[in-house]
């Protein structure tokens, strides 16, 4: 996704992202694409954390996709890791523009069921945004690195949201 597209789309994702965070009662959430570009986030204190989670989410998506194909499991729906204090939910969804991946971290204030429920509705909200209903131009090799950092630059220029 190109830098100009990220700037435009990120603004339109703020409302659905805030809605998801509020309804699902998650602590931290980030929406990335398969390249690891950050489109929206809530709750991260630093750019470094967002970049790491985005890169790991994209890598996890690729691994899970490959594993699902290898085992004949078809498209994977979500990944859930229940830690002692916090839980991780990672799920991909398709839009005509491109595939996106939502990562959410939650604690005892929420449950896997609630996060799943509101993730489904969040995905519908994103798909309903007209800008996500058209195919977007991909970054070329020369501009990829700059485009990759576009979402982070945008997030860093804004005051960090409350955790």
């Amino acid at each position: 996704m190109r830098r100009a597209d990220i700037g435009r789309l990120s603004g339109k994702l703020e409302e659905p992202m805030q809605w998801f965070v509020s309804e699902a009662r998650v602590r931290v959430a980030v929406l990335v694409n398969r390249s690891g570009q950050v489109l929206a986030q809530h709750g991260f204190a630093s750019q470094y954390d967002v970049a790491n989670v985005a890169a790991l989410a994209a890598a996890t998506h690729s691994s899970a996709h490959a594993l699902a194909e290898l085992t004949g499991a078809g498209r994977w729906m979500h990944l859930h890791h229940a830690g002692h204090d916090r839980q991780l939910f990672l799920a991909p969804f398709r839009t005509p523009a491109e595939d996106l991946i939502l990562v959410a971290i939650f604690d005892e204030e929420s449950t896997l069921g609630l996060v799943q429920l509101f993730f489904d509705r969040f995905a519908e909200m994103v798909r309903a945004i007209p800008d996500f209903q058209v195919t977007l131009e991909r970054s070329d090799a020369e501009s990829f690195e700059s485009d990759l950092e576009a979402g982070l630059d945008r997030l860093l220029s804004e005051p960090p949201p409350e955790a």
């Binding site: 929420s110 449950t111 896997l112 069921g113 609630l114 799943q116 429920l117």
Partner: protein, 115 residues
């Protein structure tokens, strides 16, 4: 145990007016076993009923009333009943004119069988 849950939910779902019966993991808010009529979104009901039950339980404990055993919601279009079956939860979705007394007895029986 799985057979016990399935049989209990099948029996509950046969009570007149019941549109759905399920065993829910309240910690995760996900269904474990379901017997649902068409149009009942089991995942959504499980997630929201578990959340409601846990919140109500927290409120009761905080106010010194002890643990929550049963929660019953009444609405224009029907009822939702949640009964603790430690560590699980039995959740029933029923029509407005359902025999609630019988449903409560059967849900309680199911919860006891599972404990």
């Amino acid at each position: 145990m799985t057979d016990v849950m399935r049989e209990a939910m099948a029996r509950l779902s046969r009570v007149k007016g019941v549109r759905g019966a399920m065993v829910v993991d309240p910690e995760a808010g996900v269904p474990v076993t379901t017997e649902l009529a068409a149009g009942v979104d089991g995942r959504a009901v499980a997630a929201l009923a578990a959340s409601l039950f846990q919140r109500a339980g927290q409120a009761l404990r905080a106010s010194g009333h002890g643990a929550l055993a049963t929660a019953q919601l009444e609405a224009e279009a029907g009822h939702v009943l949640a009964v603790e079956a430690d560590p699980l939860l039995v959740v029933v979705v029923a029509e407005p004119r359902a025999q609630l007394g019988l449903i409560r007895v059967e849900a309680q029986r199911a919860a006891e069988e599972m404990q």
